[in-house]
């Protein structure tokens, strides 16, 4: 239809639309009906807009959790400043010294328990006879724990002084907050109401605390402490020199150890005294300290508004990592073995059954797994651990039904499908020719597998393991239900038995405490800080996994 126009319009005709050349017609800029877009263009932008949602969501996640988390640092800084100004830090130095003493007392008590058990069970003494044998020891232990009584009295007084000072400060802050609210309300109120509000605000007297003078009574206790400590040292040394003698060599060894503790404790007293002498209330709290208290803090203590809140992530991080490590220890061999087996060894019928089955496992809801752990697995594990024939296993018998291992077993079951399907994919992607070449050279199937197939798929398997790790670290319900939820750094000095201790995790603490915290409080923000940490860990894992895959991808061809 398109013909070059000849430029000869008939005079009688109305001027027609100018005819275009083929080229012009094709190159003509089409203007559409919708904001200058054609239908197709418009549709494209709708699709594009939808796709951009993922970017928006990621940005929103980043923004939301970071926004609520950043406030943590200044708030924690203020928290630490009060800790120093009100002398709580000073008291805690002394408290530590006193606590160590009671730890030694506890050591004596536990040694006594063990000895009593030995006497009654192994030597067949009646409980009363065992008690009689241990009476000398009990007397000794009591005398030892009495040596600290002076210090405890002093500590009590100091605690009262410091916490009342902190209390006054918090009350002052609350009042200031209330005043601010009143004044803010005044701006929008009617004139008479405003005047009333102003009056109310003026009535609020905020006490300004001069920490320097207020702290003097606390500091004045130093000589008293020194005196008490000197007395304590003398008494303790006298006791340690006259440890009662027992015929049992194991028990004697324990008492010798006790003497070592006492000597070490004398050194600790000296350092505590030096610390208290050097303690300086006016020393400023650095900005970095607020962050360090989170990232390297060994204590997570919240909700105890009377003394001091600590937001250290280490107990939670170490718990998360311990569980993840254990879970992977189980999941990697099983997951990779299953992947290799299904891809290289299994018959087609087996393949058809196993692959969907394992995929199906990943659909088991985590909360059901957690429930299974509480209702079944934890108790079963503990009962097994109590059988006398397994006494040689470190950590057996298990004290707590819910512990790191219970959670790790279930998490392993969750990580196996992830590891399995990704690793199986990776093995499947190894070109057939590699395998065939190896077989043609006379290698057995096993040799081919070990030397050719698995190494060629190794990058994919590594990525699978990494993503399995991500899945385990980010899992919430199982650890919340089964890990035991004790907020403490696992005690690695116990050797391999550490895996049977209850721990708490980063995901678990968010799920557990988020529902109860006051909005915008320091605790709320601390939980968001943990969320940020989890988010960053997940990004790091993703990045690493992609990097590994890209870097070691075998070029085919």
């Amino acid at each position: 239809m398109l013909m070059p126009s000849l430029g000869m319009p008939a005079a009688t005709q109305t001027p027609a639309a100018p005819r275009l050349t083929t080229q012009e017609a094709l190159l003509r800029k089409r203007t559409g009906w919708f904001f200058g877009m054609t239908g197709d263009q418009f549709v494209k932008y709708v699709f594009q807009g939808n796709a951009a949602i993922s970017i928006v969501v990621l940005a929103l996640i980043t923004f939301t959790i970071f926004r609520d988390a950043v406030g943590f640092l200044p708030q924690n800084h203020a928290n630490l400043v009060i800790y120093r100004l009100a002398g709580l830090e000073f008291v805690d130095i002394f408290r530590e010294q006193v606590t160590t003493h009671s730890t030694i007392s506890r050591y004596l008590a536990s040694a006594r328990e063990q000895q009593r058990d030995r006497l009654t069970k192994k030597e067949g003494l009646s409980p009363a006879a065992a008690m009689a044998q241990l009476a000398v020891f009990d007397d000794f232990a009591n005398r030892f724990s009495d040596t600290i009584s002076d210090e405890e009295t002093i500590l009590g007084t100091m605690t009262d002084l410091a916490s009342s000072l902190k209390e006054r400060q918090t009350v002052g802050e609350d009042l200031a907050e209330g005043k601010k609210k009143l004044l803010a309300a005044k701006r929008t109120a009617t004139p008479e109401r405003a005047a009333e509000l102003q009056k109310q605000a003026d009535e609020i007297q905020i006490e300004t605390i001069d920490f320097k003078t207020e702290i003097q009574p606390l500091l004045a206790m130093r000589p008293q402490i020194l005196e008490a400590n000197a007395k304590l040292l003398v008494e303790m040394n006298a006791l340690a020199a006259n440890v009662p003698k027992f015929p049992d060599p194991a028990f004697t060894r324990k008492l010798e150890k006790f003497q070592g503790f006492v000597q070490a404790y004398a050194g600790e007293i000296k350092t505590a005294e030096a610390k208290m002498a050097a303690w300086d209330q006016t020393k400023p709290v650095g900005r970095l300290e607020a962050f360090n208290a989170f990232a390297f803090g060994r204590k997570w203590i919240t909700g105890s508004s009377s003394w001091q809140d600590w937001y250290g992530v280490l107990p939670l991080l170490s718990g998360s990592l311990l569980i993840a490590f254990l879970a992977l220890l189980i999941a990697i061999p099983l997951g990779v073995a299953a992947a290799v087996y299904v891809n290289q060894v299994a018959r087609p019928a087996e393949q058809k059954f196993i692959k969907p089955y394992i995929e199906f496992i990943s659909a088991i809801p985590s909360v059901v797994l957690g429930f299974f752990g509480i209702a079944m697995l934890g108790e079963t594990l503990r009962r097994v651990s109590q059988s006398p024939s397994l006494d040689w296993v470190p950590g057996f018998p298990i004290a707590e039904r819910l512990n790191a291992t219970t959670a790790a077993c279930l998490l392993a079951l969750m990580a196996i499908p992830t590891i399995f399907s990704l690793a199986e994919d990776a093995i499947n992607n190894v070109p057939r020719s590699f395998r065939e070449a190896s077989l043609a050279l006379g290698a057995t199937r096993l040799q081919t597998m070990i030397h050719i197939t698995v190494p060629a798929a190794l990058s994919g398997i590594m990525a699978a393991i990494l993503l399995g790790f991500g899945r385990v670290v980010g899992e919430t319900m199982v650890v919340l239900l089964c890990a035991g939820n004790r907020i403490e750094i696992p005690d690695f000095s116990k050797g391999a038995g550490v895996i049977f201790q209850p721990v708490h995790t980063m995901t678990g603490i968010i799920a557990q405490e988020m529902g109860e915290v006051v909005r915008d409080s320091i605790h709320y923000r601390a939980l968001f800080m943990i969320g940020v940490l989890l988010f960053l860990i997940s990004l790091l894992i993703n990045w690493l996994a992609q990097k590994i895959v890209r870097r070691y991808r075998i070029s085919i061809g």
Binding site: A51, I361, I416, R445, L446, G474, M477, M514, Q546
Partner: protein
């Protein structure tokens, strides 16, 4: 040459050491694979038998209807005339009115949520899943169409893919935190269906996008080219020649993500789930309230009954019963997806 020496053909030779090692290793691999399957089977068996005993009955109607149609109640356990009695809160109130003096001084133990059923929880879970899947499917499928049909490689697309991959790795609790911070607090939805829907929709978005894109990419290029060559616009081509063929694949992926959404607890813990709520979701005053109400949900209920009440003979029924209903609903959804996929793989081979 020694005449007694007989050469044996290689086929009849005893297996070499390498062969024997191989068969041992293969057996080990097989054992560890079946060990995994066995572990999972044990969990299904344990919850299946103990929970099944709660749900199914020996006599008609064979299914424990009250458990599926009533709201949770507090269970009262007391001893009267030397007989142990267990009663739900409503029945107990009536009983108490009639037998007030007999009950005087009787020791009454109470267990929350241990009587009645889990009807509101089932309803809540269904609502949560349905809403979030609608949102996620619309967003996800449209994104996938863009990625597979329109996008040409460039910085925008690369960034987009990076976001999708990273979004897929973000732990669900972080999604929960995000939903709480953004929808519940910043946008002031409160603990509500809407907040839960959006949070979960965003959580499964990457799964749906990736799977749908794969399904779209699997449609042969010739289908598109044929349509375009006949003068159809791109949009017409997609509607008539691409989507219909990709639909089964998209369906499969969406069924799988339903299982994922239904199974998650962490994201709804602070965005949508209530521990207990007396009204059912449709008992609202204004229709807009519907979106801004929290609901009870099965997974959260399991968490609550597993942690907040002691484990004993009286509470076991509700614990295992809820776990049973939840596990086998999710498993049924997942099974559908798996079967659907194997069927489709056989049917569509381009």
């Amino acid at each position: 040459m020694n005449p007694t020496h007989v050469t044996v053909p290689a086929i009849f030779a005893r297996p070499t050491l390498a062969k024997r090692v191989e068969s041992v290793i293969f057996t080990l691999l097989r054992l560890s694979t079946y060990f995994v399957l066995l572990c999972a089977a044990f969990i299904f068996w344990d919850i299946g038998t103990k929970g099944g005993a709660v749900i199914f009955q020996k006599s008609a109607p064979f299914i424990n209807v009250p458990f599926l149609t009533e709201a949770p109640e507090t269970l009262n356990v007391f001893e009267i005339n030397g007989q142990k009695q267990t009663m739900g809160a409503r029945a107990f109130r009536q009983y108490k009115a009639q037998h007030a003096d007999e009950l005087k001084g009787a020791h009454i133990e109470t267990y929350v949520y241990s009587a009645g059923g889990i009807f509101p929880n089932i309803v809540g879970t269904l609502l949560l899943v349905a809403g979030s899947m609608v949102i996620a499917l619309v967003l996800g499928v449209l994104s996938a169409i863009y990625l597979s049909e329109y996008a040409t490689d460039g910085p925008f697309i690369r960034f987009l893919r990076l976001s999708i991959i990273n979004l897929a790795g973000v732990p669900s609790i972080v999604f929960g935190l995000f939903g709480f911070g953004l929808f519940v607090i910043a946008l002031d939805f409160g603990v509500s269906l809407l907040a839960g829907w959006l949070t979960m929709a965003f959580m499964v978005l990457p799964i749906i996008i990736t799977a749908s894109e794969e399904a779209l990419k699997a449609v042969p290029k010739g289908y598109r080219e044929g349509s375009l060559a006949l003068g159809a616009t791109k949009f017409q081509t997609i509607m008539t020649n691409v989507l219909p063929y990709a639909l089964p694949g998209i369906l499969t992926s969406s069924v799988l993500s339903i299982a994922r959404v239904a199974g998650e607890t962490a994201p709804i813990m602070f965005t949508a789930a209530f521990v207990v709520r007396d009204e059912l979701p449709w008992q609202v005053q204004k229709w807009t309230d519907f979106f801004f109400q929290g609901v009870m949900a099965l997974p959260y209920h399991i968490y609550v009954v597993a942690t907040k009440i002691p484990q004993n003979e009286y509470t076991r029924d509700v614990q295992y019963g809820t776990a049973f209903v939840f596990l086998f609903t999710v498993a049924a959804i997942a099974l559908t997806a798996v079967i659907l996929r194997t069927r489709l793989r056989k049917k569509y081979k381009w």
